[in-house]
């Protein structure tokens, strides 16, 4: 197997910042530093330095769409600023093969006094397009923006929506080999976000390398083949988007796709104890992220200690806002009698195209049904979690729509038609 050539190679990249004083150094401090250096002593201010990025090493093959995730202050933006030459590293180096374009802000360099056309040229050139390239794409840019009628109006008279549409249209027609994109999706309305997602996707499909920094885990899951997780300036996870996102959510929100207990600490009573709970995919593997089009299994392993009362496994699925999506009991008649002592593994299968995208957590109980009540024997709340994502390939409920698609559930309905 031949490996794709590398578009981005980053070796031991580090960047230090000084705590507190973000402003320019004062002349006095500079003198202090100088004196300290003369006396061959560690300058006082070096204690106030911290690593915004520390010893970061990774590489990205050509044509990969790579997401960068992490909390605020984890070093994501610093990484982008280093890779786009906005600022220089303190240690290490990076090699980028191909034309590099950055989209840290749409409409960077737009001048309010200039009209639409003039700003297209200016912004295009700032992004890195040549004049002839813009000439070639001008008609497309104008058409895509949807503000054709206002091309000779100064952009200061534009509404903010028109401004963003024009700015995005320029950015969308910029086709570098390596694209570095920051939270641009955070601005604009749903339509804008959908189009920018679509644009990002087509860049990836066209064999371009994209480095995509985002807080929007849906977008990262949807677009990226690969992801990096930054924590305190260091890469703590680098791998498939699903693994990295699942790990990140486990770290931040708590609760991963699996939980298990020792005998003495297991939730339960003298009748029944839980042993483990897993979220599994249809092949039986533990899965933290699951395609909306695939079934999701909640596998509950438990031990019946003595034969007393009927024990029925039950799950409750909650969405990321804490709303209850549904409760489910195993309704099989075999549970109406007490089960003999022993180990059991029950798996509840949530059908495909039921839950909406996002993070879900699961409560697990072993209960006895005593209508109108359920008597719990063993309970674990929000014990496992998983993230449902939709690659938006057209065969899920959202079709090819890339924007926000709300609802507790996401059923794939059958539509019938009548026409005359």
């Amino acid at each position: 197997m031949t490996q794709a050539p590398l578009a981005v190679e980053v070796r031991s990249l580090s960047k230090r910042y000084r705590k507190g004083a973000i402003g320019a150094r004062s002349l006095r401090e500079e003198l202090e530093l100088f004196m300290a250096r003369l006396r061959n002593r560690e300058p006082v201010s070096s204690h106030r330095e911290f690593y915004a990025l520390k010893d970061v090493t990774f590489s990205i093959p050509v044509g990969t769409v790579c997401g960068v995730i992490g909390r605020n202050g984890s070093g994501k933006t610093t990484l982008l600023k280093l890779l786009t030459s906005i600022t220089a590293p303190d240690e290490g180096e990076a090699v980028l093969r191909g034309r590099v374009g950055s989209l840290l802000e749409v409409g960077a360099g737009f001048h309010p006094e200039l009209d639409g056309i003039e700003n297209i040229y200016l912004n295009g050139a700032i992004l890195g397009m040549s004049k002839s390239e813009i000439n070639r794409k001008l008609d497309d840019i104008i058409e895509f923006s949807g503000v054709e009628k206002f091309m000779d109006t100064p952009v200061k008279r534009y509404s903010s929506g028109m401004f963003v549409r024009l700015a995005f249209s320029v950015a969308a027609h910029f086709e570098p080999d390596i694209m570095v994109v920051d939270e641009v999706l955070a601005v604009g309305d749903a339509d804008f976000q959908r189009r920018s997602l679509g644009r990002m996707e087509s860049l990836g499909d066209a064999g371009r390398t994209v480095l995509f920094v985002s807080h929007n885990l849906h977008a990262v899951l949807q677009l990226c083949d690969r992801a990096l997780l930054l924590q305190n300036g260091e890469i703590v996870r680098d791998g498939s988007t699903h693994d990295v996102v699942a790990y990140y959510e486990e770290q931040t929100v708590g609760g991963g796709p699996r939980a298990s207990w020792n005998d003495d600490e297991a939730p339960g009573n003298e009748l029944v104890k839980l042993r483990s709970v897993r979220v599994v995919d249809e092949d039986g593997g533990t899965a933290g992220t699951i395609d909306v089009r695939r079934p999701i299994g909640i596998e509950i392993a438990y031990r019946v200690l003595r034969e007393g009362r009927p024990t029925v496994p039950k799950i409750k699925v909650l969405d990321q806002h804490g709303a209850i999506c549904f409760n489910a009991l195993d309704t099989d008649p075999r549970w109406s009698d007490p089960a003999p002592p022993g180990d059991y593994v029950a798996t509840a299968w949530i059908p495909p195209n039921l839950l909406n995208e996002g993070r879900h957590s699961v409560d697990v109980n072993i209960v006895t049904i005593a209508s109108p009540k359920l008597i719990p024997h063993a309970s674990a709340y929000k014990i496992v979690a998983f993230h449902v994502f939709d690659p938006a390939e057209g065969d899920s409920a959202r079709g090819l729509f890339g924007g926000e698609f709300r609802g507790v559930v996401r059923p794939l309905l059958e539509w019938t038609y009548e026409s005359d």
Partner: protein, 281 residues
């Protein structure tokens, strides 16, 4: 597939790496920045580009009345208005370029923190946009010259006027040099933002604008060329407008050497600062 562009980002910095091929790729951006500055400067003004002419003319009138008329300072045989106007046109180019370039990191901070392009494009584009103003003002100065020739106060127009573009070139180099030095230091120490207008004010008095270069004692002229190349540049400008005045080579050589040295220093300082300026702005 065409040869791929390779970007190496490293903590190591070359002592002097002005990659002209890299800069050449941004020539369109340079032109667009210059065009933007020209278009925007007089938007929403009543008189528009007429300000370009009003400013030096008003100053010329004031200087002629006060410096020449009241104080009686010599103009070295030139008609007073022409004498002041020639110098003022060159001076205003210098001060314009220096002022904008000294603030380049502060004014463009937001843009610089969002997208990369060689930062030196901005100062160089201001050479071009201010150059357009300079050309318009020069036309006014030449109109004055023609008028004085016509009324017989000046003997004629010399072939020397054809050398004026060389004066402009030298002026642009020196303005850029000073601007880059100040721009680099302003990015680090904000004190310089307060100092630049003040330095320019002093500069206007120590430069032969209200007095002729010939008023400087002979033995100090080379030293003047080294310390203030602009003095020599303005003298060269006046020389181009006259027919008889002589000019000596040594101060010019001194001024050229000083300009070259400051320009190298400016480019070095600017490059050093531009790599990480966005961390401190």
């Amino acid at each position: 597939m065409t040869a791929k562009q390779i970007t190496v980002i490293s903590s190591r910095r070359a002592w002097f790496d002005l990659d002209f091929r890299h800069l050449w790729r941004y020539r369109d951006l340079l032109a667009l920045f210059a065009a933007r500055d020209i278009k925007v400067r007089y938007k929403q003004t009543l008189l528009g580009p007429a300000w370009l002419i009003i400013q030096p003319l008003a100053l010329t009138v004031a200087l002629t009345a006060v410096v020449n008329g009241v104080a009686g300072i010599s103009t070295g045989g030139h008609p007073a208005p022409l004498f002041y106007l020639t110098a003022l046109v060159l001076w205003s180019y210098f001060s314009q370029v220096v002022l904008t370039t000294s603030q380049v990191f502060i004014v463009n901070g937001h843009l610089f923190s969002k997208v990369y392009f060689p930062r030196i494009i901005v100062p160089v584009s201001s050479l071009v946009s201010s150059g357009v103003a300079l050309l318009i003002q020069l036309c006014v100065a030449i109109a004055f010259l023609v008028y004085y020739v016509w009324i017989g106060k000046v003997d004629g127009i010399s072939w020397r006027l054809a050398l004026f573009p060389l004066v402009i070139l030298q002026l642009a180099a020196f303005s850029l040099a000073v601007g880059l030095c100040l721009g680099a230091s302003t990015a680090k120490y904000r004190d310089m933002a307060h100092m630049t207008p003040f330095l320019l004010q002093i500069g206007m008095f120590v430069t032969p604008i209200i007095f002729p270069f010939s008023a400087i004692p002979e033995r100090y002229r080379v030293l003047t060329g080294l310390l203030n190349p602009l003095a020599v540049i303005i003298d060269q400008g006046r020389w181009c407008f006259s027919t008889e005045e002589s000019i000596s080579a040594t101060p010019i050589i001194a001024a050229l050497a000083a300009t070259a040295a400051i320009l190298v220093l400016g480019v070095l300082a600017f490059q050093r600062v531009e790599r990480t300026a966005m961390d401190t702005i």
